[in-house]
Symmetry: C2
Subunit: 247 residues, 2 copies
DNA sequence: CGGGGGTTTGACGAACGTCAATCGGGGTGG
DNA sequence: CCACCCCGATTGACGTTCGTCAAACCCCCG
């Protein structure tokens, strides 16, 4: 094992400990469970699918760098992104059979993943209750975001949807240390944003323009800065999830 | 206990056995677990909430007759229905903390429910594996419908959404014996359909008119008949859920 | 016979989609 | 180093879908 590989593994498990430690208290024992993940680390090209729709990704993995998504494509090519998968999130990691884990999952950018065969369906970590808790909460957060998404798509305008999505991304990225002071990197094209918000590319562009004009955000070179968090939260009726309510 | 009360209890548990028996094989032992539910049966008026958003319904119950829904209401009164709750479905019945069970749940019609305190969060039925399975599958189906709903709202037209929703309702009602030969009772106003499909009342009406004109459905006196199931499924790209895939 | 909730219709307007052209920036080959 | 190119962002013009408003209608019930 080369030293830079060991460093990469260390970085990957650090990320997981940081992310899941924010969801539930991790004992030294729990942390060790993450440290013991054997991998391998894998580099995945943009566009690659992690699974076939209807089957869980095998092996289960954690996303370490890059962005992925769950999506469904209709017969005529219309695509809907169900949700984003961000660094720290599991891909095919689920305790009980979960339809969310059966969606078609695809890399939106070049990614790095860490295989974690032990985290397969029906996992059981009796000696690591913190780890078990954290993973369950992560699953619940996925479900909660799906509900938010339904409300967004069904009853919010383009501006509100975009604002809501940006706040959601900020919250999630902040959890893993990838957003600071309301600034974060979004390696997506506007086409992807369109498929996530249920809008057309052109209208996504116009909506972003408006958010910019109103000095609510900046968005340059794939870096988003939320200039007026409270105003944006008002527009979107966004509430950050309450992790403690999901135990 | 009056005799008609005993009959009502019998009907209620029959419904549950029929419904959950369609999801997983129920042993005699499993069935008994349903038969032993003590209740009480409760009649609930239309409009009543079963829980406060963010808290699970207490006690957990099963819906026996009538329709309910999960919904969220925005600050300015816009309402989005997350999903329908039909006879046989649980209200606050969930094994692990589930955001879907934390939605605000409301009776859309006068309802009858059967309280089932044993089916509270973290249930454990080691001696009734069939019952446990069936309830998990029911939870998974809820989640799968949420995903379908996202695709519908994000990338389907009014006509496609309505077609999809009607097919979903037909499938679910057929499972509990409330739809036969593509005909079922829908005790909803068009306003409710609007909040479920993310459309306006007027546009729901126009969409229904078009489905009628095209001889795809009949809809009279709250009874829907699907005249051309295959054509409707093509329009909606509807796939009936595969229960076996969710184990 | 009157009333009220829900449905239906028409006219109009706003939000959003489509098409097409242009722009802009980073990468690449000469 | 420069010209070119290509993908994605941006803009404008226009079309469609869907929302809004308001009136009429319908049916069930008292």
């Amino acid at each position: 094992m080369k030293p830079n590989h060991a460093a990469a593994m260390r970085e990957a498990t650090d990320l997981l400990v940081r992310r899941y430690g924010a969801l539930a208290h991790l004992s030294a024992e729990d942390e060790q469970a993450f440290r013991r993940i054997e991998g391998p680390l894998e580099d995945v090209r943009r566009g690659r699918q992690f699974n076939v729709e209807g089957r869980r990704a095998n092996p289960p993995r954690f996303l370490i760098t890059g962005w992925a998504c769950r999506q469904r494509v209709l017969g005529d090519g219309r695509r809907k992104i169900i949700g984003f998968i961000l660094p720290g999130d599991g891909i095919g990691v689920c305790q009980r059979a979960s339809p969310l884990s059966l969606c078609c999952m695809t890399a939106l950018t070049d990614c790095r993943t860490l295989a974690a065969p032990a985290f397969d369906i029906g996992w059981d970590f009796p000696d690591q209750p913190g780890l078990d808790n954290a993973l369950r909460i992560a699953e619940a957060l996925d479900e909660a975001r799906a509900i938010d998404h339904i409300v967004r798509l069904g009853r919010q305008t383009a501006l509100e949807r975009m604002a809501h999505l940006l706040l959601e991304l900020n919250w999630r990225l902040a959890q893993v240390g990838l957003a600071e002071s309301w600034r974060f990197h979004v390696p997506l094209t506007q086409e992807v944003m369109a498929d996530a918000t249920g809008l057309s590319i052109v209208h996504v562009n116009r909506t972003i323009q408006q958010l910019r004009r109103d000095r609510l955000i900046e968005w340059r070179h794939h870096v988003v800065t939320i200039l007026a968090p409270e105003a944006l939260e008002d527009i979107a009726e966004y509430k950050a999830p309450d992790v403690r309510a999901l135990i």
